[in-house]
Symmetry: C2
Subunit: 187 residues, 2 copies
DNA sequence: GTAGCCTGAGAACGGCCGTTCCCGGGCACC
DNA sequence: GGTGCCCGGGAACGGCCGTTCTCAGGCTAC
């Protein structure tokens, strides 16, 4: 098997298992079985489980942001609509089968105190998201501080949807975001 | 040693260790050493680790809500001030030494997929918090839907403060809450 | 005083898991 | 066709952890 396809299969399996069942309850043997990549190859590519987790988070970060940005792009050019599109996308994400909350929040809860590497990746993902939001807010001519507030709404929606399942938190967050935007443009 | 003091010492140790280091990285021996309660007694009181975790979450839930309600009571009688006092309290909580995010969010991330018991307790805690918030919102004569939005802000602040440490998320959430309240009272 | 019960301390057990090692087989190259 | 190399499969290892067991010691009741 090619090195690149091995890496892809490995990360595919890791993502499905880690996201679906958590990190600690998935053994390396599970990953080996699911991916079809031999344990030896796994450890050649990632010398420790930690680093496999980090690679999984990294690749997912890339895909997650691409999907989000894609949805925002498809929403058109009106800058306020684009900001609100973030919350629309959250809603469709929450509604996907197999949704289990935010991978980074879950990972942080599980390994934040144990693996500084994972903690760093979680923080980096959240920083990146907030930065993306700040860009949209700025393009809409809204005050920069609004981005922090909107990010709290989004994070809260992710947590709530993760625990209770369902898309309602995204709708609530979207309504709140709209109100905050109106409030900010009036001032 | 008295049964009641044994239980208290046990839960004290469990809370400190579980909250500070996570559940899975704390062994029963650690708890035994920290509490001074023999392993035999531990298993008499809680036949499995799961149930000790649940008891820890339960007692913390009681104390957490009592502290929150105490702060809100001390804030006076103006109903809007009382709602905002929730976010003030979050700020002082985030600033405490040893703050490590929301115990229930962390536990859910760690054990939500593994222990239905823990998942239930996390959901119950969040439901209770939202209910408390809804009471404050109703007393202020504000629309009931606002409570859901404020709860998203609070959850988002807890997650963000947990990952990045610091009290800024509470201030941002408070400012956003104030804006949402104004928006709701204008309508 | 003695018999019996309860307790605490720690060892023991069974299982799991991350990581490494070994072996047999297939492929490339001479 | 042979030889050596690399790879996959899976066993092995070391350590940890939840849970149970053993045993010695002290308290209680007569």
């Amino acid at each position: 098997m090619d090195q690149d396809t091995a890496r892809t299969r490995l990360l595919d399996a890791a993502e499905q298992l880690f996201y679906g069942r958590g990190i600690q309850s998935v053994g390396m043997d599970d990953i080996r079985t699911a991916s079809g990549v031999s344990l030896k190859r796994v450890y050649q590519l990632y010398p420790a489980k930690d680093e496999l987790v980090a690679a999984y988070l990294d690749r997912r970060d890339e895909q997650w942001h691409a999907r989000l940005a894609g949805h925002v792009s498809a929403a058109g050019t009106d800058p306020v609509t684009r900001v609100l599109a973030v919350f629309d996308w959250l809603g469709s994400w929450f509604g996907e089968p197999g949704f289990r909350g935010c991978a980074w929040i879950n990972c942080y809860g599980e390994l934040g105190t144990v693996s500084p590497l994972v903690a760093r990746h979680a923080a980096a993902h959240k920083t990146r998201f907030r930065g993306y939001l700040a860009g949209l807010v700025t393009e809409a001519g809204l005050p920069a501080g609004l981005a922090d507030q909107l990010s709290l709404l989004a994070e809260g929606a992710m947590v709530t949807a993760g625990i209770f399942r369902g898309t309602a938190p995204a709708r609530d967050a979207r309504a709140a975001a709209q109100a905050l935007i109106e409030h900010a443009s009036e001032a």
